[in-house]
């Protein structure tokens, strides 16, 4: 088996590691607004991952939907609830 130069697996592993860190951080942060922003960062790393997997259409959609609109509506909901969670 060989692998091509355009699929750098080291870069891939770095992005996946950042995604796992962002996912754990989004679930363990106490403040819900910071949790929402970390979710946006998670979506952005997902978008990078998909660009790296040659799925440009999917990455474009995720950059517009996941990183922008999702974050905005989560923050918009966070203004009506207690922004500090217990766990």
């Amino acid at each position: 088996m060989t692998w091509d130069a355009n699929l750098l697996w080291q870069f891939d592993m770095l992005i996946l590691l950042m995604m796992v860190i962002c996912a754990v951080a989004a679930l363990s942060l106490k403040g819900l607004v910071s949790s929402a922003v970390v979710t946006g960062a998670y979506s952005f790393f997902t978008c990078l991952m998909w660009t790296h997997m040659m799925a440009v259409d999917v990455a474009f959609t995720e950059a517009a939907v996941g990183a922008a609109v999702s974050t905005v509506i989560i923050v918009a909901t966070a203004q009506y609830i207690n922004p500090w969670s217990k766990d």
Partner: protein
């Protein structure tokens, strides 16, 4: 309860991770997913639809039923958000725990929004209409167009954005997009072809069957773009104001 959930999750994780040994190797060109259907789409798609972007061709032509009912699902979701949030019952406690600073909306922010919103809207139209030749299409164009209204509402106020893009107009756009999509299918049906068989449009447009499919994809993508744009704006209007349309984020 919690330790029990952790043990179950850990066992499931171990079982699924051991099951990955049987999956095809990552990026293997001979894997089952890449050998049966997708070579057909790549090798015949360009000759049949004259659309270089294979994803757009498959999305709006070969799997057009999927996309039609997907846009209907999104439309239904916006209606559900509206129905859930706009309750007429009184005595509900609406305490805002977290308030963004009003004085933060200064001239610089508004000037930046003013200069970037027209560029965003033109870029959204470019993404929509250039979806045949580059990454993009109805979903991306619609979301970017909707995000321009959300930016207007964030930098000015919800009332200001609702004067520009009224709520009634948003709902009309939601319905019109899905109706445009279904209408194209109905026209194809009336011309004696299958529902959403765009080759039926060839007689109306005076072009060959292949070009008719290309134009049909464009019209359908425009319908999807209108629906998605209106749904994003509607979701923001409802969720940011808590359903009463008074004050946003």
């Amino acid at each position: 309860m919690k330790p029990f959930a952790r043990i179950i999750l850990f066992l499931c994780a171990v079982m699924m991770l051991t099951a990955t040994v049987d999956l095809p190797d990552w990026a293997d060109p001979g894997s089952p997913a890449s050998t049966h259907l997708s070579p057909g789409f790549i090798e015949q798609g360009y000759h049949e639809t004259a659309t270089p972007n294979v994803v757009t061709a498959v999305l709006a032509d070969y799997r057009s039923y999927d996309t039609l009912f997907e846009s209907v699902v999104v439309f239904a979701a916006s209606l559900v958000v509206m129905l859930v949030l706009r309750r007429t019952s009184t005595g509900t406690s609406r305490i805002k725990h977290f308030r963004p600073k009003r004085e933060g909306r200064d001239t610089i922010l508004r000037g930046a929004a003013q200069s970037i919103i027209p560029v965003m809207q033109i870029f959204a139209l470019y993404v929509l209409f250039h979806g045949h030749y580059s990454p993009g299409g109805g979903f991306q164009g619609g979301v970017i167009f909707g995000a321009s209204f959300i930016l207007l509402s964030l930098c000015y106020s919800l009332k200001f954005a609702m004067q520009r893009f009224k709520e009634k107009m948003v709902l009309i756009c939601c319905a019109c997009g899905a109706l445009l999509y279904a209408g194209i299918g109905a026209v194809c049906l009336a011309m004696g072809w299958n529902f959403l068989g765009y080759a039926g449009l060839a007689g109306l447009l005076g072009v060959t069957d292949v070009m008719a499919r290309s134009h049909g994809i464009l019209a359908v993508e425009a319908g999807v773009g209108i629906t998605v744009m209106a749904v994003m704006v509607s979701l923001y209007y409802d969720l940011a104001s808590g359903g009463d349309m008074e004050e946003g984020l």
